[in-house]
């Protein structure tokens, strides 16, 4: 199982060496750039410390001995190096930024192409939101770690090392005092940052509960008002914001404590430098410029230490992110082509469900020993209660799922021996909830057959009954359907998805009929379109409308994964069994509605 839990785990249980090396391997194709950016950082870090050293020389060799010329010449070097540093800062930002964007881009690309290959079962058990956050925050955390994180670490380490090198040159005894403080500072800072991060995680959790509370109260506003729950709900919400207040206040003051603690620790170092430095100056071991230099080095050492602490604290989070991203990239699709799978030109012919067993959940079999033979060109209507297995039968036929036992033969060939592409490209499917993609109506109809001409598109639309409403729209076939087709009514979306299926000239037609979203006139139009299509294909319809059912050659009443009743409409009505019972009540409503519409 590639994905099991959907609760976010922010922290990886341990530092996993393999994950870390895999994170770093993202950089491998860009190793030249990595060298450039590490070099740039080295130059910048060196110059940062060198500037302080130049300041010291300016004091000791220029200002105190009153040597104006030397002072100017040092200043000139300073100015020149400043330009050099600016150049390297530029290089560093551009290269690091590029790498960060590039790696994020690569990860997204890799994830997308693998997610696409997954079987439907994967999507049934994995929420879309879960996959989405792998693409955004998790992938970004990895990209950040290998770029800005790496940059921060390298800069911090080089900066501290170079500073210590110069301090050692100026006065080794004082330098040792500072050196002994560095590990303590890094340790304290890192512990602190981790604590703060975990406090903020708590804040985020409460925050999502607050969003949830807003959402529920706004979407359920009718009930809230009808039951006068305003006061009680406000009180419950007040408790929640109170919790939020405490958690975020705590997190905020903890982070406010961080800098002062580190500062006070380093001030201890400053104090001892003055104390001991005084003696050293008296002994001639240290110049006034040297004191100044130590002062600066210690003051500005705070930043690299903070950076180190931050990267360290975030590291575990990033590793946890990386594990999730890699699990997505590594997920194996459950259904894929066998080696040596054939691609027959046609899948016309008899379809046989041969002793099929199937379950989604081992304890709850959906189909057991299910048998069905459908002749070429036959139209089969599947009816029956929800959860009876109608959709499963269709899903198996489409090979969205594969049987757990038994086999499905199409035209005499076990369908697992064929390639997925060869099956899918010859199916025409209309789903109950029609999904359209952003773009024009034309693009949507053309979806299954991108090389079709505008005439073919229109032809399909006519057949599906969509043409009439499309031409009434201001922009006709070029009308934008909006996100998920939201700018159209459900009925219109259904007509378009029918046209989409008609256009591919399917050899097997599958329709999961929606109950009641199409008006009476469109319904009769669709009727004619479907009728034509059904004559030329083998068709499976999960049917709700009487008019559709009447078109079927055979009606199967599916209940508890078995065919409970079978026959044509007249036969089943005459039997006065389950089919008869289920549909008397349902048609009553349907007919009333259509009458209402006419009235």
């Amino acid at each position: 199982m590639p994905v099991k839990r959907f609760e976010e785990e922010d922290f990886s249980s341990s530092f996993n060496g393999r994950t870390i090396s895999r994170i770093l391997s993202q950089l491998r194709p860009y190793w030249k750039l990595v060298i450039v950016f590490v070099t740039a950082i080295a130059v910048i870090a060196f110059l940062d410390s060198y500037f302080t050293y130049l300041g010291k020389r300016m004091i000791d060799e220029g200002i105190i001995p009153k040597n104006v010329n030397l002072m100017f010449s040092i200043a000139k070097t300073y100015a020149l190096l400043m330009l050099v540093q600016a150049l390297f800062v530029f290089i560093m930002i551009i290269v690091t930024g590029y790498l960060g964007q590039r790696i994020h881009y690569n990860l997204r690309k890799e994830m997308f192409s693998n997610v696409q290959r997954q079987s439907l079962s994967y999507f049934d058990r994995t929420p879309v939101g879960w996959i989405m956050s792998r693409f955004t925050s998790d992938a970004e955390k990895i990209a950040d770690l290998v770029t800005w994180g790496l940059l921060d670490i390298s800069w911090a380490i080089m900066n501290i090392s170079v500073a210590i090198y110069f301090m050692l040159r100026i006065n080794w005894r004082l330098a040792l005092i500072v050196l002994s403080l560095v590990p303590i500072l890094v340790f304290v800072a890192a512990r602190f940052k981790k604590k703060i991060l975990s406090e903020y995680r708590e804040v985020r959790k409460i925050n999502s509960r607050i969003t949830g509370a807003y959402n529920e109260n706004i979407t359920g506003i009718r009930v809230v008002k009808a039951f006068r729950r305003e006061e009680i709900n406000l009180k419950a919400f007040g408790d929640l914001t109170g919790e939020m207040y405490r958690a975020s206040y705590r997190a905020a003051w903890l982070s406010a404590l961080f800098l002062p603690v580190v500062q006070i620790l380093s001030a201890a170092a400053l104090g001892s430098i003055i104390w001991i430095g005084g003696y050293e100056v008296n002994l001639g071991q240290l110049t006034i410029g040297g004191i100044q230099a130590f002062f600066s080095y210690v003051t500005f050492m705070l930043w690299p230490i903070q950076d180190l602490a931050r990267v360290y604290a975030r590291m575990q989070q990033s590793i946890a992110s990386a594990e999730r991203v890699f699990s997505l990239i590594d997920a194996q699709p459950e259904i894929k082509d066998k080696t040596g799978a054939t691609s027959p030109d046609t899948i016309r012919g008899r379809i046989i469900f041969d002793h099929i067993d199937f379950y989604y959940d081992k304890d709850k079999p959906v189909l057991s020993d299910f048998n069905l033979t459908v002749e070429e060109g036959e139209t089969v209507a599947l009816v029956g209660p929800t959860g009876g297995g109608k959709t499963t039968i269709v899903n198996l036929l489409c090979r969205f799922y594969e049987p757990k036992g038994g086999k499905i033969l199409i035209n005499g060939i076990e369908y697992r021996d064929m390639s997925l592409q060869s099956i899918h490209s010859k199916l025409g499917i209309v789903l109950q909830t029609p999904h359209l993609f952003r773009g024009s109506i034309r693009e949507n109809i053309r979806y299954g057959k991108p090389d079709s001409t505008d005439r073919e598109v229109e032809e399909a639309a006519r057949l599906s009954g969509a043409h009439a409403f499309i031409v009434k729209l201001e922009k006709g076939y070029d009308t934008d359907v909006g996100e998920g087709g939201n700018l159209l009514s459900v009925g219109q979306k259904q007509l378009i998805s029918l046209a989409r299926a008609i256009l591919v000239r399917p050899e097997i037609f599958i329709m999961d009929e929606a109950t009641s979203s199409v008006d009476t006139i469109s319904e009769s139009l669709i009727q004619r379109g479907i009728e034509k299509l059904m004559k030329s294909t083998t068709s499976f319809v999960i049917a709700h409308r009487l008019s559709t059912i009447k078109l079927a050659d055979r009606i199967l009443y599916i209940e508890n994964g078995r065919i409970a009743e079978e026959g044509n409409h007249a036969e089943l009505i005459a039997r006065k069994g389950k089919y008869y019972n289920l549909y008397t009540s349902q048609f009553a409503e349907e007919m009333q509605k259509s009458l209402n519409r006419e009235g």
Binding site: Y98, F112, S296, Y447
Partner: protein
């Protein structure tokens, strides 16, 4: 854990102003002193930092140079530590106080918005998109919180650093001080210029990110279609396009940063170096002491480098102003008045209702109900029949005054409906919706939801039994403690409806409104729901939006609506006797039931 946190009582409505900055100031009401204390702490902290450099000057000039006794060294050393302690404590205090301020204000704002939104009328909620409202109550509130907790404080820090250190340099030498800020205006302008651009590019980057997410979401939710048509390659290309665009936008953003930082590095560096050199000359000339020079060169850094953050801070402040405006568009709305009006004893309500030429129009003036007149005796059942959009739902929504009728007269027990308080009407009217909304709480909380009083466990079970849902509930592993919705058990339409019926039974309303559709329910469940409803209707004036024949036959009166008007009215028997829509529907349904139609 759950005790209430008190905030300064205050109605954010009073801050309403068109000027965002002024509004942000007004929002501080009740916490201004606290916030001021945070600023003062910040001032003390920054000052002691500056004092460190002045102490350094004293140490060099008066101790080292004058060869003062060595016992001074540890004293000065502890002085540094002492100043650091002051600086640290006050930095912390300032952080703590500003956190308290911003969190309190945010909590107050959140609570206010929650309450305000739930007291706005239906017509407002019909107009507003849920996502938009949530974005404002969460995203925009967060922006405002960050303004108080981060941006305003950072802005204060940059300005204080500049002022305090500038004063300290002035104390050392005035000419030097003026020279030290010569390039600063340029730095400010450059930084503002860049951050406007960066902010613009950042928005573009974010927009592209949003487009990428949409594309991703679309492919994922439509995965069945993608697979059904074998279009994975196409989807990959589509995603690739958006993905690559984001990469490009990201690079542009990087390029701006790549230009901004080195340019300001050079500008700041030039200012710094100029200070060093001129300061050096002053020292050589003997205008300032060597100790002063040391202090000066340390202080200089703190007035130059923070300044380049000004651009970013100012740009971010404008975001807070925009968020303020967006939130206060909600605050501006008038809430419903729930309490004013009559509140007679509910037990004395008989439930006689009369419509007299009632009409209702939407805000855009299109009529929904037009000249509707009929009356209902206490305890009667009225069935409403009519096509979608005929006005049935609007009609029943007028009763609890979810919408206010715009013409005619509507009376309950002879008193105009407008004279009752809304709160009262909603107390005596019960609803069972077609697709009931349940909250993601336990089942028993959902049933107890509307009782408006403490109810015992046995009362809830009693109601559940009457609604024929008890047996299904106890079959769940957690029984009545089962949580409903996304995080818990998904209930079927029929189960939800029966829980809603139990909820209504417990509420014990005087007037009942039912939407009795049974689509998506099998016939056995339908029977159960029906017998639950019969129990519920006993002795109450009931309005049924009817879909099935039992309701029509049971009703004392049937109103057939079309396009906002009543086209037929009477008892079932009367209406069968007339030519018209009712008879057509009735005949059809009864023939369906006998099976005659299907066989044909």
């Amino acid at each position: 854990m759950k005790e209430h946190v008190e905030t300064f009582p205050f109605n954010p409505k009073e801050t309403l102003t068109s000027n965002g900055l002024e509004g942000l100031w007004k929002l501080l009401k009740g916490y201004r002193l606290l916030y001021l204390a945070a600023a003062v702490s910040l001032f003390i902290a920054m000052s002691s930092k500056t004092a460190t450099y002045l102490l350094l000057r004293f140490f060099i000039d008066n101790i080292l140079k004058k060869h003062a006794p060595v016992y001074w060294y540890p004293i000065i050393g502890s002085g540094f530590l002492g100043l650091a302690l002051i600086q640290g404590s006050f930095t912390f205090l300032s952080g703590k106080l500003s956190a308290k301020t911003s969190e309190s204000i945010t909590m107050r704002l959140r609570n206010y918005l929650f309450n305000h939104i739930q007291s706005l009328s239906f017509s407002y909620h019909d107009r507003m998109d849920t996502g938009e409202l949530i974005q404002r109550t969460t995203g925009d509130v967060e922006t405002i919180r960050r303004f108080y907790s981060e941006q305003a404080i950072s802005l204060g820090r940059v300005l204080l650093l500049f002022c305090i250190n500038f004063v300290a340099i002035l104390m050392i030498d005035m000419k030097l001080a003026i020279l030290s800020i010569a390039i600063i205006p340029i730095i400010v302008v450059v930084s503002l210029f860049f951050f406007k651009k960066i902010s613009y590019q950042y928005n573009r980057f974010q927009d592209q990110e949003a487009r990428l997410s949409t594309a991703l979401q679309e492919s994922l939710t439509g995965i069945r279609v993608v697979k059904a048509f074998a279009r994975q390659d196409f989807e990959e290309k589509k995603f690739e396009r958006e993905n690559y665009r984001k990469f490009i936008e990201g690079r542009k953003l990087i390029a701006l940063h790549g230009a901004f930082w080195p340019i300001t590095d050079v500008l700041c560096g030039t200012q710094l170096l100029a200070g060093y050199v001129v300061g050096g000359l002053f020292t050589i000339e003997g205008i300032i002491s060597i100790g002063s020079y040391l202090a000066y060169s340390g202080l200089l850094i703190w007035i130059i480098f923070p300044i380049r953050m000004l651009g970013r801070l100012i740009v971010e402040t404008s975001k807070a102003r925009v968020s303020y405006g967006r939130i206060f568009e909600i605050v501006k709305q008038q809430p419903e008045d729930l309490s004013s009006g009559k509140n007679p004893d509910p037990s004395k309500i008989e439930g006689k209702i009369s419509f007299d030429s009632v009409s209702f129009r939407y805000a855009d003036n299109s009529p929904v109900l037009d000249d509707v007149s009929f009356s209902v005796e206490a305890g009667e059942i009225v069935a409403l029949l009519g096509p979608t959009g005929s006005g049935k739902t609007t009609l029943v929504n007028l009763l609890p005054r979810f919408y206010e009728y715009s013409g005619g007269s509507l009376k309950l027990d002879g008193i105009e409906l407008r004279e009752y308080s809304k709160e009262y009407l909603r107390k005596i009217i019960g609803f069972v919706e077609q697709e009931p909304f349940l909250f993601s709480q336990t089942i028993w909380e959902n049933i107890a939801y509307g009782a408006g009083r403490k109810v015992t466990r046995s009362e809830i079970e009693e109601a559940a039994k009457s609604a024929h849902i008890h047996d299904s509930i106890v079959e769940f592993p957690k029984g009545y403690e089962t949580i409903v919705g996304e995080k818990g058990v998904t209930l079927s339409g029929g189960q939800k409806q029966r829980i809603a019926i139990a909820r209504a039974i417990l509420k014990d309303p005087r007037i009942l409104i039912l939407d009795d559709s049974t689509s998506s329910v099998d016939s056995e469940t339908e029977q159960k729901i029906w017998s639950a409803l019969v129990k519920l209707m006993e002795g109450r004036t009931t309005f049924i939006i009817a879909h099935r024949i039992e309701s029509l036959m049971k009703a004392d009166k049937v109103c057939v609506l079309d396009k906002g008007r009543i086209i037929q009215m009477g008892s079932h028997h009367e209406l069968i006797g007339e030519e018209g829509m009712y008879r057509k529907i009735y005949n059809l349904q009864s023939s369906l039931q006998s099976g005659g139609y299907l066989a044909s």
